[in-house]
């Protein structure tokens, strides 16, 4: 599996990661190399084998829905890159 320039840009867009011109070439080469190594998996017969999402899952954990102390507003906002009053401040989502 070779990843071309357009595919690399498409993936970067899906992941919302900006990449430089230089990175497009580098990632195209490196990701293709890595994907080539994944092809061994096609040799494995997985007919009738269920997928495992995580090991040791003994049972579904259910807990009582009860109110607990949580972070205060100031604590929750303490690491905000930008805030206004009691809110996280972000750029407009819907443009006029």
């Amino acid at each position: 599996m070779k990843l071309n320039r357009e595919e690399v840009l498409h993936i970067a867009r899906l992941a919302r990661v900006g990449i430089t011109e230089e990175e497009i070439d580098k990632f195209s080469r490196q990701l293709s190399d890595i994907l080539e190594n994944f092809e061994v998996l096609s040799q494995v017969d997985t007919d009738g084998i269920p997928p495992t999402a995580q090991p040791n899952m003994l049972h579904t954990i259910i807990k009582e829905d009860r109110a607990n102390p949580s972070l205060g507003r100031e604590q929750a906002l303490a690491n905000a890159p930008a805030r206004e009053g009691e809110f996280f401040k972000i750029r407009p989502v819907l443009e006029k």
């Binding site: 997985t46 084998i49 090991p55």
Partner: protein
Amino acid sequence: MNQLENLTISQAHQLLKKREFSSVELTGAYIDRVEKVENHIQALVTQTAEVAMQQAARADERIAKDDIGPLTGIPGIIKDVICTKGIRTTCSSKMLENFIPPYNAAVIERLEAAGMVMMGKANMDEFAMGSSNENSAFFPTRNPWDITRVPGGSSGGSAASVAAGEALYSLGSDTGGSIRLPASFCNLVGLKPTYGRVSRYGLVAFASSLDQIGPFARTVTDAAMVFSTIAGFDERDSTSVNQRIENFTDHLDGDIRGMKIGVPKEYFVEGMQPGVKQSIEDAIRNLEQLGAIVDRSASLPSTPYALAVYYILAPSEASANLARYDGVKYGYAYPDSENMWEVMEKTREFGFGPEVKRRIMLGTYALSAGYYDAYYLKAQKVRTIICREFSTAFEKYDALVAPTAPCIAFKMGEKLDDPMQMYLTDVCTLPINIAGIPAISIPAGFSEGMPVGLQIMAKPFNEDALFRIGYAYEQSTDWHKQRPSLPI
């Protein structure tokens, strides 16, 4: 106070108990040691000497009342991926360079209750992605055994700091070998517990179905003590398993006669360094002499597929977990744009380093429409096969032994430009995370003057077997007593 940097936890505990020295004195000596060695090895992102002295004073108050546990007043170091309330937690990433957690991770709560003295936060590969510590956004940590070589990763700072005598133990996290590999490269004991044993609450997530926190220490006994302290059920981690926690040090009697140990042949991979192979074969003979019944024809046939499975699953989970870094709630945010999408893309462009971007993109690709079945779902199915092979093996054997890594610590820069070569360093440790079983790396000799690690694996929740075998082996050698000589 001479040679305090070589003490084990057990020794320091006895000396604190007998009032030979106080925790404040011990901690002061370790702060001096950090000052001496830190510029050579660069293991710490943040030094917390002031906090350490306060905690030491509190520990001394407890000790004065004979309220002393194995870790009370003992200096330790925490990987910078574990949240510490009020103390910067960076994941060695520009993204979190100024992040101050508003809460403690579960393991920190447990260590504080036990009387921890925290010396600092350890450097690591950015977001725990890497095998050499060179992916830190700040600076690379060096191997105390040879400062031109890497300490291993991703918990390289946690390993180098203990190996250099900056603390008596440390915590790391292990997603594909990130504790065991650096333990092997730095001549330490490193434990990856069973998935679900140690709460992940407050561990910054990399790949949630693979991540576990575990200890680094100088001896098996010390590692067992730290593990006993941090393990246990926590309802805030929905994958935490409610299994009885024993005092794991109770079973360390050195008797492994009659224990059945398998040596899976697939772990002796092509390209393994002869010196490493030699050390591991010697260690296996040693286990036989101690009375273990060793079967060299054990087999886990799907081992060669583990690398591909891991590098599909871990980046897929990472791409989802790291979606939270969007420049809104915390972390770095690109300041110079009024467009929301541009802010997000630039935040992630400048906030993440190359390896993190590479893995996010790899995971995004594996999960994207049209490729999900071929990559992600296929990898999950092969994961099932790998898990089943381990289960079958553990019906026959009490434990499996293998090398921790196919090589000794490599030179800095050697594998930096070739991600695939770097990934291959983890070939012997990845299958363990895929199956969620526990494994330990213990010092097993030297090759070209650099440490070699023996990896022991057991069935889920059977860390006891790892400690029992590890301890018996350790008592029959003096590898764990060797210390690096730093140019100080």
